[in-house]
Each structure stands twice: as C-alpha cells, then as structure tokens.
C-alpha cells in the first residue's frame, strides 16, 4: 500500500476526536472503535492521508470519533465513494466502515463489484445482524426464523454469509473477527489495511439493544480461532499456483457458520493485480503522480491540450 510519512509515533489517543460516541451502553461498536484506534496507532497512519468512508447506520457514525479524514456518506454507497477517493489519489489509505444492512442489503451490488475490482481498500463490516439505527429490523445476516426484540414476526429471510460472499466476489483478503476481542481485531484490521487489494474484515458485533439472539454469550460459545484449531492453517497465497487450492480451502472454511464460528484470516492473495494497477495499464501516469496532483491547466489557466494534438484524425 501507500507509503506512510513517519514523522512521529502516534498513540491511540492521538486519533481520538472530542466527539463522544452516542452508541448505546455496551454496544459492540465501541470495541471496533477501540480496535481502529489501536490499529491506526500501531501502523502510525498519517491522519491527513487516511480516509475512512462510512455509509449510514450506528456503525457509520464512526468517522466522527476518529481524527483522520472522515467521509460519512449514504446508506449502502460507501464503497463507490471510497472508489472515487482511492482512484483520485491512490497513495491514500482508504477504509470503509459499514453495517451489515449497509454493505449486504442495500449495498450488496457494490460489495460484489468491489471484489471484481480488487481495489486496494479495506472494508470493515460491523455485523450486528440488525438495522440498528432504524430501530432493530432484521439485517441480512440474521438467521431465518429468529425473532429478535423489535421485529414483529420471526425473520423470513435467510442469512447471507459475508465471508462466503466476499470470496465468491473476488476479495483477495477475507477475515472474520469479533468486536469484544480488541487484540484479535487489531491484528486482523492491520493486515487488512496493509493488504494490497480488496479486503473484507467481517466483525461479529453484538447489538445489546436489538439483537437479543446473537448476544455476547451466544457468540462466545461458538467462536474459535482457525489457527488455534488447525495450527497448519496458512491462508496466504505466496505463489499464483497456490491460489486455487487456498481459495478452495477458504471457501470450505467459510461454509462453517453455525454451532461453531471460525474467526481469523480465511484467505489472502496479493498475486492479483489491484484495480489501480489495472487502470494504470492504460493510464501510466496515474501511479507516478496521483491524479489529484496532476496539472489541469497552464499557470495562466489555459488548456493543456488542443484538439489538434488530442484528435488529429478529426481535423478536417
């Protein structure tokens, strides 16, 4: 990813703004916020070159609590916004935060498209399986037949599996973690940010207010770390030739989500060119001088190109 100017070592507190989160007490989002603060500090990210793009939801309030560039956008659309930002300046660290509703219901099309692009951004999914901010409707990851607090009848939709969907869509880094486990989160988030390509961090995030099913206890009974159970687990593709096998293993692992829920890195493959690199094939200057730094006119405001030069074959 982009190079980071190291001027000083920052602490988690350096990334805190004065704004107090207005989440409910014990909300899983607090854990994610802390993990981001820690990860940013450990990576010593430059706040002016780190952009966090969020959608709309409880989760999406997070940029206001972080002293970095924060872009709080539209429900479901954080990924397209992030794409525009990243391409305008590929040297930026770009991170997307969103809820399960944000990214997998209204935003599912963009979620899939990001995989197809392998744009070098990290998507942090706050998965509470409900629509928090609109008062607890079923989210796309809530299992069918479950009746959580605020919904009038048991959920009629099947849950989608974010890890599997990410793998099916082409993400080259796919991981799952848990919002009350700060340490695990920090590790995974750091890797996702450092990964060169589209990364998904699927965070199991209890919503104590509305998700009365997937509670802290529920998760903690089920969660296990992949590499603890299987010390030989190595999700990293080091050679394109390995990709097929590692991908298949990741997909099979992803299918596991029920009584036991694996957390950790499922898949990581940096042998696939990023979208920026693909674009640079036809626009070679893009990775040398970021587009935002390229000139648009002469000093006195005259055009840099002429039709004669740009379109000689059209001159008649």
């Amino acid at each position: 990813m982009s190079s980071v100017k190291v001027t000083m070592r920052r602490t988690p507190a350096d990334y805190k703004t004065g704004s107090m989160p207005d989440w409910c007490p014990a909300c899983g989002d607090f854990g994610i916020l802390q993990a981001l603060l820690n990860a940013f500090a450990e990576l010593n990210l430059d706040p002016a070159n780190t952009v966090l793009v969020s959608g709309i939801g409880c989760s999406a309030k997070i940029p206001h609590y972080l002293k970095i560039v924060g872009v709080h956008t539209l429900h479901g659309r954080a990924i397209p916004f992030a794409m525009g930002i990243k391409l305008a300046n590929p040297t930026l660290e770009v991170i997307v935060d969103g809820g399960d509703g944000d990214l997998l219901a209204i935003g599912a099309g963009h979620f899939v498209a990001l995989g197809r692009r392998n744009l070098d951004i990290a998507v942090i999914m706050h998965d509470n399986a409900v629509y928090g901010l609109t008062k607890g409707q079923a989210g796309p990851t809530l299992p069918r037949g479950i009746k959580v607090k605020a919904i009038p009848r048991p959920n009629v939709h099947d849950a989608v599996n974010p890890v599997l969907l990410a793998l099916a869509s082409g993400y080259t880094f796919v991981a799952r973690t848990y919002s009350y486990d700060i340490k695990h989160q920090v590790e995974v988030i750091k890797q996702a940010i450092q990964h060169r390509g589209a990364a998904l961090v699927h965070i199991l995030q209890p919503c104590p207010t509305y998700n009365t099913f997937q509670t802290r206890e529920w998760y903690e009974q089920r969660i296990y770390r992949i590499e603890e159970e299987d010390p030989s687990w190595d999700p990293v593709v080091r050679d394109p030739g390995d990709a097929w096998e590692k991908y298949n293993r990741a997909v099979n692992k992803a299918l596991e989500f029920g009584d036991r829920i694996p957390i950790g890195v499922f898949y990581r493959n940096e042998t696939v060119p990023t979208f920026e690199e693909r674009m640079a094939e036809s626009i070679p200057s893009m990775l040398k001088v970021p587009p935002v730094m390229q000139p648009i006119a002469t000093k006195d405001g005259k055009p840099l190109i002429t039709i004669e030069r740009y379109l000689p074959d059209r001159i008649v």
């Binding site: 206001h64 956008t73 525009g84 990243k86 305008a88 963009h110 893009m286 730094m293 405001g301």
Partner: protein, 640 residues
C-alpha cells in the same frame, strides 16, 4: 463568412449494423474534405442489427446544424429505406436505390415497425400503388423526385472483378461505401475527397482503402454529376468533425476533468467510451507542466450501476479531483440520492444528462427535452445546484469546460443538460478559440502540519474551503447528515437553519458571479415585436427558421435554469408583444419555468414529443401559424 452558395439536405439509410454509420461517416468526411461544412443526425432503433436506421443531414459553405424534413438526395442501402422515406425527398430531388430489391414486399423486411408499415400500407393503397419498393419508386416519381435505380449486385460484381473478389456475400461489405459513393458522385463531389472519407471511417490499411476506392470508381462511372457541387470555394479554416458526445468528452478533458464514471446507457455512454479509448493525453513537451507528467491521465470507470457511478464521481470530487458522471434519463433517476448528497456535503460534480425519449426506458435512441423539471428538482431536500442547457455542439463543448470550473468553485452539483439530438449528431465545427478558454482553478488550502480543518467554516454568502486529500495536509470530516462547521453531525435547530442558509446562499453568489450572457442569450433585435423562446438543442432550428421567416423577430435562448436569470429574461422579453415558446416535450416545461420565475406567460407553446427533433421547415410553418392564429398550443408531428 462567405455567402451560402451550397445548401443541400441529404439522407442515407439502411438496416442498423449493415453499414449505415460507416456510410454516413464516409459521406461527411468526404464533403468535409471537399471544403464544406456539414451536419448529420443519426436516427436509429434500440436494436443492434436489422432495424431501419438513417442519417439526415445538410452540407453548406457555412457551419450548419439543422435539417429540413425534405432532402435533396436520398441514398439507400436497402429497399426499406426507399419505402420508409417515400415522403421525405423534395421535388426535384434524387433517390438512389437498389434495383435488385424493386420487387420486395413490405413484409419481406422482417424488422419493419408494425405501426410504420401499417401507415405506409394505407398510404400506398390510397395512392393506388403496390406495397413494394417499386411502388415507392412510383410515388417518388409522382412527387417529382428523380429515382435512380441501379443494380447494387451488378456494381459490386464489377468492383469484385477489379479487386479479385467473386463471392457476392463478401462483396456485400462494400454496399455502404457504394451507397454514398453513388450519392457523392451525383452531387459532384471531387472523387479524391472520398479517399479521406474512406480512410476516416474504415481506417488507413492500404488494402481496404484501395478496395473501397474501387467501389468509388465504379460509382463515379455509374452515376452522372447531377448537382455539380464541386469543391467548396469557401476556403474555410481548419475544423473538427465530431458529434456532441465527443465534443463534450474533449471539453471535459480540456476543462480539467480527470474522472468520468458511467454505466453504459444510450446516448451517454459514447461520451465516456470516447475518453476510455484515449485515456492518456500526451502533453506538448514544451509546456512547463510536461515536466511533472508527460501524459495526463483521465480515469473512466464503468461502474456496476448509476448509483455507483454518481457516488464514485462524488468520491473523486471529495478527494479534490475534477470529476464528472454521464448518463441519460433512467440513470439520472438513479442518481437523485447522490445528487442530494452533493448538495448537503457540498461536493462539486458535473452530472451530464443526455436526455432521450421517456418516461422509463421509453425511446432509448430518440431525442427529447423532457427532463428539465426533473433536473431542476431532482433529489430530496433543498440545496443549491447549477442547471445549464447547451444549444448546440459548439456550445456543448465550451459549456463542458465552464461547468467543470463551476463545479469545483461552488462545490455544488452542476447538471449539464444535453440530448440525444446533440449526442449523435455530427458536425464540422470551426476549431475552438483556445484563447477564450479559461480553466479557473480554485485555490487549495495547504497546511504545513496535519491539522483538523473545519471544511464548512465559511462565511454566509461565501464558499466552502477547498481541501485536496493527500495535498492539503488537513483532516476533515464530511457528512450527508446535517453537520456543524467541522462536518460533525448535530441536530441543533439554530445550526440546522444557519447551515441551510449558508448552502442556499451560494445560489445568490453563483448568480452574481456568472455573467448574464452565460444564462440567457438574445439573437436578433432586442426590440423585436415577436420573441421566440427556447432552450437546448432546438437552438439552430429556431435560428434557421427565424432567418427564413424574416421580419421583426428575436430568439431568446434560455441556458441557465438554476439559478434562473429572472431579471435578464424579463428585460429581454420586456418589449415583446408576442412570446412563442418552442420545446421538445409535451408539458412545455421550459415555458412553465419561465412562468414560475418571471410571470411571463407565452402566447403560444409549440411542442413536439414523438422522439424526433424539430426541423427548420416545420418551425417556419408552425411559428407562422402561431402568429396568424394565436393558438395557445401547437403540436409538431414531423417524423424524420
């Protein structure tokens, strides 16, 4: 400018996908090579191959950009063209057709529109001729049109002998060149001009050029020079041959736009694809700027849908890049939420809207001006925006540059209204006056240390700060929720009121800063009794119609609809005793805006909403009729 010595209307038609475009391009480039200005509008179905398609155009010594509903010369690739256009050639004109198809019945053309066929069948029956190509030829003759039938197969075989191809199917690929070469021969365009035409539309591979030039030779041997145009003696300056899509694409790049997102849609996609095929622009090495980068890049993104397209452009603009997205009605509908976001978060993006026939999928390849009100009011809530409509390809080019400047300066969505009539109409356009072009870069705030910057901390009536990500060394927050100066969400009532005022006061600033002549233009004598008012791509047809009508008339072209130039428009129309509003829609939307914003009620609205633009003669007749009868609403029917 020289006197108009030559002024000739032409049409070439055939089945979509069988060379109509190639033919038209050969034609246009050839007459351009002969020194003429020229124009050609493409009409086609939402279909890839087989449906009837045609180009309708004009050539002249002076720049032209309108058509009439009767042409002097009709060149046909197939018999259906001869049938469909049976009423479209002026007496004394010429139709060139393929004798081999003479016996073909209407029904043998399987992709004939049921409705069109039914209407033509009725017409042919009433006229007492058979429903075949031959019947059509008979009708042309009755109307005083010369019908020149030649056997295309015979001519192609002759070509085949010369270039060593026997197979008639293979030779079929030359039929497009043949059809226009026959026409160009009849027009008396110098044969060598056609080489430029062939190279332009078929490429410069010597083999191809040589083969097609044999087609040209055979055509010139077959047809006599009827119209005797020769080369133009106008001695015109260098010009560019392009259509509206291309002019806007180049205008954007010239105007500093470096990011264009789109989802494929007619008639917008060709603009983006044009850039996508020329993504990297080599700088003149003598420029100072070439030291930083030798080739500028323009990013085009084919998004997964228009929601992604509009918001990706917003993202690029937020980061500090000049960005645009281009679309048509259905896609624009999907952009409403993103545009509202721009209004709230104060993001400047040029949204190029190529209007086409609606509602819904409507007439995807036909023109209309029915999205004006939607452009003015799209997106929930209230926010400042600029809505500008260009009148012709030339204006569209310059406007693409201006809108790029405005979007950056005012950080508002700028909706650039164009239409299919502009998109796929080609013209030979005088080269731009580069000296008149200004790219006004807005100063960027740059800090020496990373610092928290309140992006929205600007005075009432001012402009938000311009921060470029990775350049400004600033960290800012930005939100689509109501927010404080720092972009942080707050719902305090006083804050909400003042932020709303800050944003909307920008409209007044924009109105003050942008000169009146960008907003409304008056052609002819301001003191005229009669004012024809219109907007968008009707401009040239109206101007040409007024030219023909003569008399005490002026044309008021509305260009900017938001902020609306109430005072200048009132002033322009102050003395008009009669106001006639012309537009390509049903509801007379432009007229409703005029009424809303100025209180002026047009005496007559002339509307057309069948997916086809106005022709000059139609307007001459209808404006005249409006003058005589004072009718309040006149509907134009012209089908070309």
């Amino acid at each position: 400018m020289p006197q108009r010595r030559v002024d000739l209307y032409w049409l070439v038609g055939g089945p979509q996908g069988r060379g109509v475009e190639t033919a038209a391009m050969v034609f246009l480039r050839s007459v351009a090579a002969a020194g003429y200005y020229a124009y050609g509008r493409r009409e086609y179905w939402s279909n890839i191959a087989g449906r009837h398609s045609y180009f309708l155009g004009r050539i002249s010594d002076v720049p032209v950009w309108s058509v009439k509903s009767k042409v002097q010369i009709l060149m046909s690739i197939d018999g259906q063209t001869v049938i469909e256009h049976v009423r479209d050639v002026a007496p004394g004109g010429l139709v060139i057709y393929n004798k081999d198809e003479e016996n073909r019945q209407f029904e043998s053309y399987t992709m004939f529109s049921k409705k069109t066929m039914a209407r033509l069948t009725k017409h042919f029956k009433e006229e007492g001729v058979e429903t075949t190509v031959r019947g059509a030829v008979e009708l042309y003759r009755r109307n005083g049109v010369r019908a020149l039938g030649v056997s295309y197969n015979e001519l192609l075989r002759k070509v085949g002998e010369r270039i060593g191809i026997r197979d008639l199917i293979t030779l079929g690929r030359f039929v497009s060149t043949l059809s226009v070469a026959l026409g160009l021969a009849a027009l008396g365009i110098p044969r060598d001009a056609l080489r430029a035409g062939v190279e332009f539309s078929l490429g410069k591979r010597p083999n191809i050029v040589q083969q097609n030039m044999e087609v040209v030779n055979v055509a010139y041997e077959t047809v006599e020079n009827v119209f005797n145009l020769g080369a133009s003696n106008a001695n015109r300056d260098k010009a560019v041959l392009w259509n509206g899509n291309e002019a806007v694409a180049v205008g954007k790049i010239m105007g500093g736009i470096r990011f264009v997102s789109f989802y494929p849609i007619t008639p917008a996609a060709d603009e983006a694809l044009f850039i996508e095929s020329r993504p990297s622009v080599e700088l003149d090495p003598s420029l100072e700027e070439a030291k930083l980068v030798d080739r500028l890049g323009v990013i085009t993104i084919q998004a997964e849908d228009e929601l992604a397209a509009v918001n990706a452009a917003s993202g690029a603009a937020i980061a500090g890049l000049r960005a645009s997205t281009t679309t048509s009605g259905p896609g624009f509908s999907l952009m409403a939420e993103g545009i509202s976001f721009m209004g709230m978060a104060e993001v400047g993006v040029v949204v190029t809207l190529w209007m086409r026939g609606g509602p819904s999928t409507g007439l995807p390849t036909r023109t209309s001006q029915a999205d004006l009100r939607f452009a003015l009011h799209t997106g929930h809530g209230e926010f400042p925006r600029i809505v500008l409509a260009s009148g012709d390809v030339e204006e569209a080019f310059y406007d693409a540059i201006k809108t790029a400047n405005w979007a950056e300066r005012y950080q508002v969505p700028v909706i650039h209204l164009l239409d299919k009539n502009l998109a796929s109409s080609y013209m030979v356009m005088p080269l731009p006056r580069y000296d008149d072009i200004r790219i006004e870069a807005t100063p960027v705030e740059v800090h020496s240390e990373p610092i928290l910057v309140p992006r929205y901390d600007y005075p009432l009536g001012g402009l938000p700060r311009r921060i470029v990500f990775g350049v400004s060394n600033a960290y800012i927050h930005l939100a689509g929720n109501e927010h404080d100066e720092y972009g942080d969400v707050d719902e305090d009532a006083e804050l909400a009121r003042t932020m709303q005022e800050k944003r909307l006061k920008k409209l007044e600033l924009i109105d003050r800063e942008i000169p009146d002549e960008e907003k409304v233009r008056v052609y002819g004598d301001q003191g005229s009794d009669v004012a024809v008012v219109s907007w968008g791509s009707t401009k040239r047809a109206v101007l040409d119609a007024l030219d023909e009508l003569g008399g005490n008339m002026m044309f008021v072209q509305l260009r900017m609809f938001q902020p609306f130039p109430t005072a200048p428009v009132r002033e322009a129309l102050r003395k008009a005793r009669r106001v006639i509003f012309v537009e390509n829609n049903y509801m007379a939307q432009g007229a409703s805006v005029l009424r809303e914003k100025t209180g002026i009620e047009p005496d007559t609205v002339i509307v057309k909403y069948n997916g086809r633009p106005f022709t000059v003669d139609e307007l001459v007749q209808l404006i005249d009729s409006a003058m005589r009868t004072g009718e309040r609403r006149i509907v134009a029917y012209g089908e070309l």
